[in-house]
Symmetry: C2
Subunit: 469 residues, 2 copies
Amino acid sequence: MTASSPAPLTEDVLSHADAAQPEALERLFALLRIPSISAQPRHAEDCRAAAQWLRDDLAAIGFDARVADTPGHPMVVAHDVGKSGLPHVLFYGHYDVQPVDPLSLWSSDPFAPAIVTGEDGRQVIVARGASDDKGQLMTFIEACRAWKQVHGDLPLNVSVLIEGEEESGGANLLPFLKAHAAELGAGLALICDTDMPNRTTPAITTALRGLVGEEVVIQCAGRDLHSGMYGNAARNPIELLCTILATIRDETGRVTLPGFYDDVQLPSESQRKQWRALFPDDSVLLGPVGLSEAAGEDGFTAIEQVWCRPSFEINGISGGYEEDGFKTVLPAKAMAKISFRLVPGQDPQRIRAAFRERVAGLLPPDATVTFSAHGASSGFAVPQDGPDLRRALDALGEEWGVPAVATASGGSIPVVAEVQEALGIDSLLIGFAQSDDRIHSPNEQYGVENFRKGVRSWVRVLAALAVPG
Amino acid sequence: MTASSPAPLTEDVLSHADAAQPEALERLFALLRIPSISAQPRHAEDCRAAAQWLRDDLAAIGFDARVADTPGHPMVVAHDVGKSGLPHVLFYGHYDVQPVDPLSLWSSDPFAPAIVTGEDGRQVIVARGASDDKGQLMTFIEACRAWKQVHGDLPLNVSVLIEGEEESGGANLLPFLKAHAAELGAGLALICDTDMPNRTTPAITTALRGLVGEEVVIQCAGRDLHSGMYGNAARNPIELLCTILATIRDETGRVTLPGFYDDVQLPSESQRKQWRALFPDDSVLLGPVGLSEAAGEDGFTAIEQVWCRPSFEINGISGGYEEDGFKTVLPAKAMAKISFRLVPGQDPQRIRAAFRERVAGLLPPDATVTFSAHGASSGFAVPQDGPDLRRALDALGEEWGVPAVATASGGSIPVVAEVQEALGIDSLLIGFAQSDDRIHSPNEQYGVENFRKGVRSWVRVLAALAVPG
């Protein structure tokens, strides 16, 4: 409970939110019916329609809301601010969705949302965007609505930014944030685009891995050769590439690039203990994808390897004859796409340079290499001792009846770094999706109960963060 | 000089062949005009036309010639035999040619042969098949014609077999040889489908490498994964494949499979010395393809590595995302196509088993491998002390004015093994092509002088082999 929102106030809002659940689902369904696929130009008007729908809904709640144009799909910007002495939070979500192909794998129209009973008896909403991100962002908007309808006001200052290009590059977000830094200048960002570690444990994602992507092309001979005429004497670039890439990790799974682990911090023992409780065995993470034991660094559990350890991956490799049958070609070139997932403290440019130095240093005469950079981002971490993190974790724990956990994600969520860069603020990543929600895949779903408790969670988090400054 | 063909007899034939060169070129051009592309069904009638043309030409010389049907394109079979007490040789060539695409890279119609002056002032015949194999096989037929026209007979018994599927699999050759073993049962096969080590040195290819081809697919997870969500903890099959393939050779370039070099014989020091004279520096072989030094086994020259040492090649590799841009996929599978070129003495099945054992032995838990065999053939070598080899080398030396060399080829020529299997006889591979004849490529060519001296070479070789038994 916070000073500004004593328990009875919040309880009233929670009761109201539960009672209003049927109408909340209707609103979500209306939004899900709009096929706002940002990557497909023929859906540009649908993207605008989704933005307009959200603007209208936020305005109906009482936000000062508008659709703001960008060089791409528009943003929705809304404010309910002006309460002096209270914190100001910026909520971020995205109304755009992934393409739906292959359509044949959907059991129903991706833009005709329906509630169905899942294999385990759970009620789930099936539609493209049900989880990513329309269902999730509407948990926040419904929480705001409940506060406004019960008490006529929010417990703190709230701005909302909903973009329409998260699934298609998001190139316009950072410039928009920079151009509107004064208007969007809150003290904390709240993002609802992540999942829970299991069905029952609420979580805040407090660390994300960054990424260095790199494409390597090794060339030896000037043209493809016949392996009979040259095999042995002419350098085989595929073999060379394999030999070089095989040096990047040692037999314990550690990356061998000099300085790679400099400045890598381990989570606290208490945090690792919480993670071990969530993932008591590596098979919890790996079993669903057909694996039984962690492959990477010795001495770390599977979830630690993903959440707090940097990795090396070969994401693609190509060379010579790849079709059916056989061809005795000794190719001129071989290509690999590789990436390093980085944890906070690692410098992407330094890691890229160390990788390039390794490859170049192992090149024999007659071999040349071409590197192409494919992105670089640092890892991100919310300070574990921040008071807002503590307040939000406590609020989530109250709602779900079990302590909320500060988790991490092995992937990148660009908006976190962009908000940091443009506005200078941290983000709390609070989401209610499940790992089997099939985001980006056919039959995407979102649990009805996840939606309901998501709304209730935000009701409590808003109250918890409303600490007079 | 042989007992049956004293010098004056041969000299008369040589003079006649030179004088008849214009007509010989006209005949070659007529054959080159037939687009007998065996791989393209629309050219089936052209293949038959080429066979018919050759049958008619051989009949005109005096051979007992016929077109013999097969399940594919027909064979040409011809005999000029019956001289008791004299050896019987079987000549092999192929009338089919490679496809001509990309047509735009040809400077003239591939089936409108023309004599043009090359960059180095050489006169060359430009056409598809000019070298491979119409020009080469006609050197033998013209030599026979000259013998018949001057002396009314050949100096020994000659059968001719010309196939039409060498460029498209040649599946019907072995069954045909077996079905006609009695009719084709000569004591020695002569094959004109190889090249000279340089412009001036005649050669007989006395060793060929065999091949073991293998496709390896390694699977880890049950489906493609997101590298952010699983990278580190889930085994990366591309990395595993690279790591395993990187163990096949050691840092000296030697293949590390147990027993790989058992039974591998080195050529005699005198033969190696001849080869070193032909290729005094590795750049002679490698320079034209943009390389400067041999990559393979330490302690062997580039040409030795190709001609007499077994090799390991990765002919193709594929996995994950290979298109433009970047995708942070952690793929479920990775594939490689690999091959070993084998020298005489190596057992293809034993080498395949050793490779599979190596891969399987390095597989960690959760990884599975699938192997697919893509062919297996042994290396081949003509005994260096055979009298026919010596006689043919001497005859070639007389024609070219420099000692002929027993060379080797790093590739496979299936007919050699098939003739051995079906008829139980050795082959002498005598050819006059040049490494820059662009066989299988646009603007294929054959030197006019190579054609002329090829005819003269066969005139002499036929005489040299005509030793009464």
